[in-house]
Symmetry: C2
């Protein structure tokens, strides 16, 4: 029997983030029920070859994870697998409270996640997204669809994952006016720059070290050219400042041209070079820029080292608030998805909160 | 005519924090209405000599501030002043949505704020408190009264003011388990220790400098003996971990015994001495301790210098999250009160949200 406090999830994408999310939510089921009076079950899990379906929301996640980690395709899981059932059909046919978007998606056009998200909203789901793509290209369109159906969209996982950025801006700073946003939002580039400062090595050597440690990807261009930082800032600007920006509207410079000589001169001046993403909310629309900047040693982002991330908000009434840390991992992204699921269940979805 | 999105406030205490709150809320009236669809008006302002009352919630705050800053007593303000009308009578007779507690209150027993808060809840008000006293001595009793009337209690202003602590723990980390809390929660002691590290001076000299700069009070004992830090942690422990603790349950050591020699030895070892407040949530009930600790240079709180504050949460699924900064001023406390007022209006008070 399904607990009436249960919210059913339709998970799209069963890669690292999707599996980490399924595992986390399942492991925490009792803890969440006790602490928040909410629990989550999976009504559908969509992967490339098909879908697992249980309309009651009780897919046996531990067994499915064992099955998949044993090398088998999700859709072959006995009893629940529907080989060939694709994402769009699943969204239309599997009843769920939340659609969780974690499919491999292109940052060039936000697809297929954008289509999934819109279709999920039309089907009456709240949306949680680990993907940035839909929201850098079509933020306004998606939010309009969400408003029409009175559904919520959770973007924490897409905006620096376990490092709280959106929720600090929207909740912790509520009522204050944000005068500027500055962030170190990409762990890979911060790691490379930190090593260049520590050892004097050239960029290429810092990159190779980061790749060796699994911090940088084999193709690091999204990170080192500044676009990962820019995309996170776009989400922040679109959400917090209603900027309606796309990647066409931002000025982005990465770290590939930062030389050991430039690092040395900064260090001699007691300064540090960081890849800083910046939002100027006073511009209309808000202006987003990304590039290497020299920070004085007492700047709150100057001490953010290695693969750590941080964001700093200057406000009118609260002063400057800086947040740093947070797992950069599938688990961190999963935890951010779960956080949004909880908050939407507890605060947004009032009919649910009231009846429980 | 009163806007139907308006929430009426009964402000108790018209000192630095109370006046900063009245000014901030009044100055931001249009901004808040546009951004949140909520606005706030004052139905009552209580000071030692009496009360200003306008049941419609339209007390003319700018004029009242001018009147008071011109050296006159609030209750003498023409048309609205009620000399001799005390806090309890005001709470019982002035209809309001929120009671805002900012009276001078003893930390020895939490009075008179505790009585005001309980009476406000009985009268059907949500409560916002800049005072810690009621919540270090009678947290459970007050929350029981709040539950009985289905009212909310906002404690941000009492728990490090503009530095978000409670809301990071409750909202930004929702769904994760907090494994430890460490904080530098008192600006005065952090300033003194920072100067001792920078100059090698003894504690007394650091204190005198802080007093000269207006950072330390003439009687600094609450700060330097660690109790301000302890009281903030008690609020965090009681709220986030439902610990039910009072000042009798905490082990507190201040910084008065920290010697230049101890600072020097720490520095030579590449470490830094900070006054650290700590919650161990795994103990039952959660354990709160305050005392000087030697931190390694790469500890996220090691770089928090001068009068800055910070809090760091270690979690199971999000890693470590550290927040720093925030005005330590009446404006910062006012902004924290406003934040809670907004959040309660938007999320808690559902009947209001729905109708607006």
């Amino acid at each position: 029997m399904t607990d009436r406090r249960q919210r059913n999830l339709l998970l799209l994408g069963f890669g690292n983030v999707g599996r980490a999310f399924a595992r986390l939510v399942t492991e925490k089921r009792e803890e969440l029920a006790a602490r928040y009076g909410v629990c989550f079950g999976f009504a559908g899990i969509v992967d490339v070859g098909g879908t697992l379906v249980d309309p009651a929301g009780n897919l046996p996640v531990p067994k499915i994870l064992g099955h998949v980690e044993g090398g088998q395709a999700p859709e072959d899981f006995p009893g629940f697998g529907r080989p060939g059932l694709g994402a769009l059909e699943a969204i239309r046919s599997v009843p769920a409270d939340f659609l969780v978007e974690a499919t491999p998606t292109s940052l060039r056009d936000g697809e297929p996640a954008r289509t999934h998200v819109l279709e999920g909203l039309r089907a009456g789901c709240h949306v949680l997204s680990a993907n940035k793509g839909p929201f850098i290209w079509d933020y306004r369109g998606i939010m309009e669809a969400a408003r029409e159906r009175d559904r919520a969209v959770g973007l924490s996982a897409a905006t620096a994952a376990a490092l709280p950025t959106l929720d600090v801006a929207e909740l912790c700073l509520a009522g204050s006016r944000i005068l500027s946003v500055e962030g170190i939002l990409n762990g890979t580039t911060n790691y490379i720059l930190t090593r260049m400062h520590q050892t004097g090595c050239p960029y290429e050597e810092g990159l190779r070290e980061a790749q060796r440690l699994g911090i940088a990807e084999t193709d690091p261009s999204l990170d080192v050219e500044g676009w990962d930082t820019a995309n996170k800032l776009l989400l922040l600007a679109n959400r917090v400042f209603r900027a309606g920006l796309t990647p066409r509207d931002v000025a982005v410079e990465g770290i590939t041209a930062v030389t050991p000589d430039r690092i040395r001169r900064a260090r001699e001046a007691g300064r540090v070079i960081k890849l800083i993403g910046r939002i100027d909310p006073a511009a209309d629309p808000a202006r987003v820029t990304v590039g290497p900047e020299e920070l004085p040693a007492d700047h709150p982002l100057a001490a953010v080292s290695g693969s750590e991330k941080a964001v700093s908000f200057e406000t009118d009434s609260m002063g400057r608030i800086t947040v740093s840390g947070g797992h950069s991992s599938p688990l961190g992204a999963a935890a951010a998805l779960l956080k949004d699921a909880l908050r939407i269940s507890l605060y947004y979805d009032r009919s649910f909160s009231r009846s429980s």
